[in-house]
Symmetry: C2
Subunit: 375 residues, 2 copies
């Protein structure tokens, strides 16, 4: 049941990523990277233990040294099978031994290290105790763009995940909404995502009527009514890579105002998408989408950032947000998802995953962005 | 989709737990407890956000102060609905604000704090930066017995989870094993656990023939053969509380040696169970089970501790292991699971959850411990 990433990567792909990561660490003035189970470890080794636990598993990447995976002895046989293991030394430890001493022996006792955001506090505390002269920065603070630029195989997997999400939308638009609970439509979305190849469903937001005005509303027991706008926002992982798309549908005929707001969000999403090209700062994508909504007088109702990166997780850098000056690079993938939220009334959000190409952007979602009328 | 613990606890139950935890912190010389999403937070508040993320959610329990839950504004409405929220102040923060400064303002700038084992390193690093004079210990190091003694409602939930695991065993023993893959039998176990009320399946170990000699083998593609011993070890969460039981079955008639080893493990399990009573040190349970196996000459083949606690997680303190001098207290719940593992040949493990009563122990699993012959 322990998994290796099902992605079609070779040992050389993983080795190349580790080499790039070690170089990036050195360039950032770090003595090394300490990678706990989670997306970074999957990306660097193909190894995904079933869960992060109190037993230390840690990839130690020190520039100029051979990389080492510290792993509990009981889990070593599974780790050894991971596709990315060639070129990586396994250092296993048995219950009762001190894995922190073994890890400390690999590290510069006065170095600064990047450590996975989600590494457990108990592991960090034990390392700090073993090596009081070291200091640490979270990996996202230290190397935010580590996984941001996708290679061709990754782009293919993201495109396939996007296509599966699109197929999900094409099916969900056929089901009846009026008279059913949000939670029932959400269960349909989860079922469809799995049917189209997702192994993990991360979110299935169904936000009807006034619930749509809360961008964080996930799903509830509200019965969807005729005349409701319904925000659908769903995604997860297919073959180890993420999907995330939003469309806003209407149960029966919309009012003129509902149409106008939907058109506005569609234009904002289009403007965000058109802003995408190499060298443009992330914040420019946010500004482009936001300007459309602000000019129409709805600026105060667009209350979140325009987008987030996607890859082996469904939310990661780069963020399309005011203040993010990181220039776009071909291969980056992220959402463009402006919205308008009218408190107590309704909300609209339209979202595609977009990847940066040599001369612009390419959408990985392509269902209609016109308002879809459902039953 | 965000959850509150489905357990039948009242606001007063949660308040009482927080008060006990704050007293325990003070007794341990801590300036407070910092509790991240996960089992401790569920136990102290009934609140379970869907996942721990880069957005800080943290319960701040400082002896003598009102407890505070720091929570992202978008998640505050869900948090407010948790059963344990009365008596707990919500301090919400919006994207772009600094939640660490807000948290730091609640803390003694030179205090020592207990922090959840699984709190994210990025959050701990940010707190250390905001308050350089503070120091930290993981909650399991600082207060290992915080959740160890269960109250009556918790014991009822653990008993119900155990009964569901037992019902699973009664069904799985009827299915054919020979000729099927371990992974197929594991899928049956998962299905049955859910059918009998589990909302979460944590493990479904099916270790046949030589795989049974690796106590950490979970499941694989090996086709189970006639003549195999098969270790089954399965559990998860039902209504927020854990199950975990193991039985070893045989496909067709066992050999005389297989019977002898199975009988030996059964006697060891019985001896461990009989050692349970208030005031006895945890390590005595381990010693009692281990002595039976050692006296029969199989000591070197019993290669793990005898047991672990169970509650809102399926693995937690107290541990039944040599060196653990913690005395047993009525209400503690833990596994008693000796095993014998003969490399390259087969393994046997028998496991029940046992709770400490006023005058001994009571098993929460009660399927037969005789060897079951399956098809």
């Amino acid at each position: 049941m322990t998994g290796t990433a099902p992605a079609p990567f070779t040992a050389d792909d993983y080795r190349g990523r580790r080499e790039r990561a070690a170089r990036a660490a050195a360039d950032a003035g770090l003595a090394g990277l300490l990678v706990a189970p989670g997306p970074d470890l999957v990306w660097l080794t193909g190894y995904a233990p079933p869960a992060e636990t109190e037993r230390l598993t840690l990839l130690v990447l020190v520039p100029g040294q051979d990389p080492v995976l510290v792993v509990p002895a009981l889990e070593a046989p599974d780790a050894a099978k991971a596709v990315g293991m060639p070129g990586l030394a396994l250092r296993d430890w048995t219950d009762g031994k001190d894995p922190y001493a073994a890890t400390a022996a690999l590290l510069d006792a006065s170095g600064r290290f990047g450590i996975s955001d989600n590494a457990w506090a108990m592991h960090l505390l034990a390392l700090q105790k073993a090596l009081p002269g070291t200091s640490y920065a979270s990996l996202t603070d230290a190397l935010p763009m580590l996984r941001a630029v996708k290679d061709r195989a990754e782009l293919e997997l993201l495109a396939a995940a996007g296509a599966a999400a699109d197929a999900t939308f094409e099916e969900i638009r056929k089901v009846p909404f009026g008279g059913r609970r949000e939670s029932e439509a959400a269960a349909d979305l989860a079922h469809l995502l799995r049917r189209f190849g997702h192994s993990q469903v991360d979110f299935t937001i169904v936000a009807s009527g006034p619930n749509g005005a809360n961008p964080h509303h996930e799903v509830g027991d509200r019965v969807i009514e005729r005349g409701d706008m319904v925000v659908l926002d769903f995604g997860g992982l297919k073959d180890g890579y993420g999907s995330d798309t939003s469309r806003t549908v209407h149960v029966g005929e919309p009012t003129e105002e509902e149409r106008r707001v939907h058109d506005l969000v569609r234009e904002a999403q289009e403007a965000g998408y058109r802003a995408v090209r190499p060298g443009v700062a992330c914040q420019e994508v946010d500004r482009a989408a936001r300007a459309v909504i602000a000019e129409a007088g709805y600026g105060e109702y667009f209350i979140h950032r325009t987008g987030h990166g996607i890859g082996v997780t469904t939310h990661e850098p780069p963020y399309m947000i005011e203040g993010e000056e990181q220039p776009l690079v071909p291969g980056m993938c992220f959402s463009v998802e402006p919205g308008v939220y009218l408190p107590g009334r309704f909300g609209v959000r339209i979202e595609d995953i977009v990847t940066v190409t040599e001369d612009g952007g390419r959408r990985l979602n392509d269902t209609t962005r016109e308002m879809v009328i459902v039953d």
